[in-house]
Symmetry: C2
DNA sequence: GCACATTACTTGCAAAAAGCAAGTTAAAAA
DNA sequence: TTTTTAACTTGCTTTTTGCAAGTAATGTGC
């Protein structure tokens, strides 16, 4: 349970408001999706994602996510140019949020990736457990 | 399943991206929370909410939510000054998204409204069913 | 060892969105 | 019929977003 740092001040104590203040923009959750579902770990991979985030915005969002304890960063041991971004436990805990958002849009908007949606519909809990298991391993 | 109107163009077909494009700002989900959990139905009630949204932003978000079929608006029969905003089925279907966002923040950030959080933890499905039932009735 | 490539950014500037304060309109209440 | 109330709109400033170009550090091929 993190405390607020100096500059931060929440508009209210409502937990939904906290989520919205941390994740309520057009990019943060997409970065988390790329890590969680596609296994992305580097700046370059995020840049290559289909939605085409700008380089400065990506750098800013990664900083924010790290500041909020959702991801960690460390230099790649075998290639010093690369930074490796990883989800923390707090980040992995966003899996249910992502899942519900995917299911909502899939049910009400015209979207693609029917395979993923079917998987989520058929065994939501199993998929989330799978994501968690994969990441627990990766973080060691 | 709605189709995109003229001006709209999605950055990608990913369902998460659709959700983020529709709801990924600092206010839309709070408005939905106020309707869903607090039973708010009028402009004035939304304005009075603790986070203090600006009047022009509120008007804009309500327009967007209506354009996306998440809420409906109609003039109050017994008081012609009032507009009554209601959640559609699509709007009610956001209950699981809201719930997971509340639980995530409650688990990882310093927040208030412990009563709601406990309720969600103890019987998530029951609470969502309850919200749905209350609204189905209200919409008639 | 040196040129070239790669990775992860930063910087500067223009455009879009958010936020504040004040004003407007239509309907209801006194 | 004057005053209130509800739901906005308008004008302006500040903040955020987004694009294009530039930079620093590390790695690779010869």
């Amino acid at each position: 349970m993190r405390n607020l740092t100096a500059g931060e001040k929440r508009r209210s104590g409502c937990p939904l408001n906290a989520s919205v203040e941390i994740l309520g923009d057009r990019w943060s959750l997409l970065i988390i999706r790329d890590m969680m579902l596609r296994g992305f770990r580097t700046y370059k991979e995020f840049l290559g994602s289909y939605e085409k985030i700008a380089t400065n915005i990506l750098a800013d969002r990664l900083r924010n996510l790290e500041a909020h304890g959702i991801i960690t960063v460390e230099r790649d041991a075998s290639d010093g140019r690369k930074q490796i971004y990883k989800l923390t436990e707090k980040g992995i805990d966003l899996a249910p949020v992502l899942t519900e958002m995917v299911l909502w849009a899939a049910g009400h908007e015209k979207t693609e990736n029917e395979a993923l949606v079917q998987l989520m519909k058929k065994d939501k809990a199993g998929l989330i457990a799978e994501i968690r298991k994969r990441w627990e391993k990766a973080r060691k």
